[in-house]
């Protein structure tokens, strides 16, 4: 549980770090909208290039962002495949005759089994999977002998390919941008920024300050609760609960033996905490002064202007094209 990479602040020093969290939040939204509105292939590539250069100039390790992307790789990959297989609009741009013969089916299954057996030992899993898929297609295409059952064709349509491309690049851009935000902004600053950005919601009677207080207490207690969960797991393990493996029924017992004490302790804790807060003159909804203030710098104005210009450019080119 200690290796959650997405949403982790990583200390560092660059213009992205010194930017106001409000700027980063608004810019994130503006740029996301822009990424969704881009229609031209070239613009999309330029956008991807720009976001990548943001990483480089912002001195963010590309590896960290890649680690943020990795859990979503398969999702990205499957949306891509899905679009290519099922979107059949536009011109045919690629046609591959396939032959389902006894021999080719056998060979394809063999390739798949081989992939399955060896995939744990390969470093670049996704690449390995891609090669396997290509290999299976190759098998069906080239092995046209040995008791033919049926023929088929694998078709890629223009629309399918371009939709797949757009969806994928958009998702990558969005994930990259939000990873940049969380890597360069302390959770407390992010929380404060969110509180300020959402302040207008006060009009509809949503008290953003209270929400921010809840989030900050949650942030404060997450490590404590994780510690506690670890302790309980050790305590239960010493009483014979096996957390490592087991069937579904055992899993249920494990989870209950963890959750019940967690709940009881958390209630005690929140009771104590509420008392301590109240005793220190906290009254929900009352005005408070704040230790942390956000300062708007020239850099923030520049960043804001650039993001809105990017959005305007995308909208204009969409209208003109």
């Amino acid at each position: 549980m200690k290796n959650i990479v997405i949403g982790r602040y990583v200390p560092g020093n660059s213009f992205l770090y010194s930017m106001d969290p409000r700027t980063k939040l608004i810019a994130l939204i503006v740029l996301m909208v822009a990424a969704f509105l881009i229609q031209s292939f070239a613009h999309m590539l330029v956008a991807l290039l720009l976001v990548t250069s943001l990483l480089i100039f912002g001195k963010i390790s590309v590896k960290r962002v890649y680690l943020g992307l990795r859990p979503l790789m398969f999702l990205l990959f499957f949306t891509f495949i899905f679009q290519i297989l099922f979107n059949q609009e536009g011109d045919e741009i690629f046609v591959l005759p396939l032959h389902y013969t006894a021999l080719s089916i056998f060979a394809a299954v063999a390739v798949a089994v081989f992939w399955f057996a060896t995939k744990k030992r390969v470093r670049f899993k996704l690449l390995y999977f891609l090669i396997t898929v290509v290999a299976i297609f190759a098998v069906f295409h080239f092995i046209d002998f040995g008791f033919l059952f049926a023929r088929g064709t694998f078709r890629v349509f223009e629309e399918g390919l371009s939709t797949a491309f757009f969806i994928m690049v958009r998702l990558i851009i969005i994930i990259m941008l939000s990873t940049i935000l969380t890597i360069t902004t302390k959770p407390t600053d992010l929380n404060l920024g969110l509180e300020r950005v959402l302040k207008p919601l006060g009009i509809v009677r949503i008290n953003t300050e209270e929400i921010a207080m809840i989030i900050s207490i949650a942030l404060r207690y997450i490590p404590t609760l994780l510690d506690e969960a670890n302790k309980i797991m050790l305590a239960q393990a010493s009483r014979g609960v096996d957390f490592q493996e087991g069937k579904l029924k055992d899993k249920v017992v494990q989870i209950i033996s963890l959750l019940v004490p967690m709940f009881i302790i958390s209630f005690q804790r929140s009771d104590d905490l509420a008392n301590a807060m109240e005793a220190r003159s906290f009254v929900p909804g009352q005005p408070r002064t704040r230790l942390h203030v956000l300062t708007w710098k020239r850099l923030d104005t520049v960043a804001m202007v650039v993001s809105f210009l990017a959005l305007t450019f995308v909208i204009v080119s969409r209208v003109v094209l």
Binding site: L219, T224, A276, E278, A279, T289
Partner: protein, 268 residues
Amino acid sequence: MSVIEIENVSFTYHGDKRALDNVSLSIEKGEWVSILGHNGSGKSTLSKLIVGLLKPQSGTIRVDGITLSASTVRDIRKRVGIVFQNPDNQFVGVTVRDDIAFGLENLQIERPEMIERIEHYAKKVDMYPYLNKEPHALSGGQKQRVAIAGILAMKTDVIIFDEATAMLDPEGRERVMEFMRTLNREGTTIIPITHEMKEAVMSDRIVVLKDGKVLKADKSENILKDKETLERSNLELLLPLEIMHYMNENGIDNPSLKEFLWQLSLNG
């Protein structure tokens, strides 16, 4: 002048067993009064009543002459601070700095003054180098010192320590006791709540609670020696005083040894 006056206060959580039963006591400004009692005797209940976290079913509580009520509770909390037992459950801020700031933010102290107080009181409890640290990087004793700084920064006249040293090691405990001494010397009214005789010896007065009632309230010297009261409230005599008692009961007369034992117990 009395800073805290409690008159005929009773409190029941639910059911009919009273957690506090007709308690009256008053505490003078600048005094150091320990509240001593066995588990479940109502000590924590009393401290929660004083700052208005609980509302008594009957009786009145006055702080600095202000009678506690829904409309004065905020004034009273400006005057009385509590350090609770569990260092983890009273750490509100994400960092030490934020935690000390919490109370000040609530009191709407202006930012420059807030920063000044945070630094001053962090230095006072020796936590200045840790200002940017998060609570899980601190020991229990350090967290407890942060809690103390948080209360000190609010400049309350009275500080209640509700078993604030119970979860600390001897060294952490000694440091907290040291703060109590310094603060008391500087004029703050100190009210430690404990079930350990050792922690009460340094106080001016001791109030002994038993089953929600005040069993006895007297100068520390007198309570320390009062074997009967202590036994009735399931508390233990300090070891040197136990020896002294034995000497008295068996007619062993040795004034210099008795004097020595007495000094020993006063020094904790």
